[in-house]
Every structure is written in C-alpha cells, then in structure tokens.
Assembly symmetry: C2
Homo-oligomer: 193 residues x 2
C-alpha cells in the first residue's frame, strides 16, 4: 500500500482544486488536509505543484467519467438515465456548494494558458462528450446527429452546473434535465418520420 500516500495527495488536491481552484489552493492546505508531510510531496512529485495538478486533473476527470458512464448505464430508458445523472450532480452541488466531484470547469478555465494542463482538461471534455454521444447512439439516434446532440448536452451540463453553483440553486439542474430529455425524445420521434 505504498501508493496510498500518493493517492491521498492526488485525491485531496483534486477535490480542493475543483472547489476553490488551483491558484487559490496552496500546497500548505493540500498537505494539511491530506495530513502529508511536505517532504513527501516533493518526493512523489519532483516537479512540484504542476505535476500534482496534472495528476489531479486526470483523477477528477476519471471520477467524472465513471459517474457519467455508470449512471447513464443504470437505466435503459434514456429519460430516466439522464434525469438520474442530473439529479446526482444537483445533490453534490447542494451538499458541498461547490463543483466538487461534479466538474473541472473552474480548473479548465484557470489553466488555459498552461498548455499541458489545458490539453489535459480538453481531453477530459472530449471523453465525456463521447460518453454522452455513445448513449445517444445506443438508444437509436443516428451517429452524426448523436454527435452534435451529445456535444450540445455536454455544453448545457457544464453551463448549468456553473450557473447553479454561482446562484446556489442546485435545482436548476432538474429543469435542464427536463429540457434535455424532451430534446432527446423529440430527436428520436423526428427521426422516425
């Protein structure tokens, strides 16, 4: 279990970064919360904060991917599956008041001018988009239509999440869920005609 220190470091960094942002989170806070000595940080991450940040982005991204994958697969009915997903995100925002476990949007916007971190975030978005698209294809939407719609749904999700957190109104996600599900239904119906 020699990896546990390293993993705890990444996990708490990811959480704090999603909450407060990378710049607002000092190494001191990460070490305090994770109860890790400073020496260990530079032992596991010789290149310092940048290296830890890169790992944290990948970690947070994988976490989001897992949730989306799992939740979208939890119900064959796409309406229920998507509603379920949005409900989960709303719960997370309600309990923490932040984008913790929900989105990397804050990190992504913060790190736009640091190429390595920016492309790491871009990759996360791309993989999430694929998950949305796949689900749409799975339920019978044509490939190219599904791609556009999946992109659209992802954008709406990220946007709703940032507005919901800013306004401290997690329920906004439920309204978005309704809009998204009817949009999917409409697309399906329109396709048969």
């Amino acid at each position: 279990m020699t990896e546990s220190v390293r993993e705890k470091l990444i996990a708490t960094a990811a959480s704090l970064f999603q909450k407060q942002g990378v710049r607002a989170t000092g190494l001191a806070e990460i070490l305090r919360v994770s109860q890790t000595p400073k020496g260990s940080l530079y032992y596991y991450f010789p290149h310092g904060k940048d290296e830890l940040t890169k790992a944290a982005i990948a970690y947070a991204g994988a976490q989001s991917e897992n949730r989306v994958k799992r939740t979208l697969a939890s119900d064959a009915d796409p309406t229920k599956a998507f509603t379920h997903l949005f409900q989960e995100m709303a719960d997370d925002i309600a309990s923490s008041g932040h984008l913790n476990h929900v989105s990397i949007s804050l990190i992504a916007l913060e790190t736009i001018d640091e190429p390595e971190l920016q492309s790491a975030c871009a990759q996360v978005y791309s993989r999430l988009e694929i998950l949305y698209t796949s689900k749409l294809i799975e339920i019978g939407i044509k490939d190219d239509v599904a791609r556009d719609l999946g992109q659209f749904i992802q954008a709406t999700t990220e946007g709703t999440v940032t507005i919901a957190a800013t306004k401290q109104q997690p329920k906004l996600l439920l309204k978005t869920a309704k809009q998204v599900t009817t949009l999917i239904r409409l697309t399906l119906a329109n396709q048969k005609a």
Copy 2:
C-alpha cells in the same frame, strides 16, 4: 475627466480577471497594464482588491449585457440574431484565446465562497437570462416556455464558451448556434399546433 483613471483601473481589472482569473491576477499586474500608481488604486478603492473586483464584475457584466442586448436586437429574425451573437463570441475567443469580454464564468466559479462577489456574479447571470427570455417572448413564445428555454439557452452558451476556450476551438459556438436556432424554431412550430 477625473474619472478616467478609475475607469481604466476597472476596465483592465475586468479584462485580466476574465482572462486569467481573480486569484491569478495580482494588483501589480493591474497597475502595470493600466499604468496606474498603487497610491491611486487605494485612493479610488479604499477597501482594496475586493472592492475593485466587485466593480470589475459589474463592469464585465454590463459589457456582456450590452452585447447580448444589442446583438439580439440587431435582427428581427431570431435565427439570424442568435447566430450573430454566437458568431461574435466565437470571434472574441478566437482572437484572445480567453473568455475576455465573453463570459464571467471563471470569475463566478472562483468567487463562490465570497458572498458579495458571488451574488454579484449571480445577478449578472440573472440579467442575461432575462435578455434571452425577453427575446423569445418577443418573437411569440409563451412566457413560461420562454423562461425555461431562455435559461436553457444561457446555460448552453456558458458551457459552450468554456469548452470552446479550453479546447481552443471557437467554432464549437457555431454548432451550438445551429442547435439553439433549430430548438427555437421547433418550439415556435410546436406552439402553433
């Protein structure tokens, strides 16, 4: 023209904050870019960075509002008007590579746990939402439907903008424009039936 120093201070702060974020932008940089001595900053903003940040949020918000209002009013045809708006935002992202003049999402997410700044950002979002909704009502969409759709369009816009900036693909906004305009058309058509 004794206000010009104060205004220049606010404008450059707003621009830098939208680009890099509040935490990443030191007072030193704001003063250097705006060519203002430190003494003047604390003369016009006795409460320091927080006060300047609040003013910058209001300024950036008003700027966005003006653009949305102006552009949505520029064409009676809603499809053209919205496409025009998204095109403008894409151009801004393309030229600066940041959310400069386009969105306060970064600032909003950064300042979630500072109540005054957070509510200032929430207000900006609310006012933008009203602008979208108003346009929809104007073109004949029922009030309650327009409200939900306006909210939806705003969320999509914010989300697309952050993803487009992260991926450095401003053209994503054009795809979103298509989706939004067909959604509006569909809503109008569906209403007559």
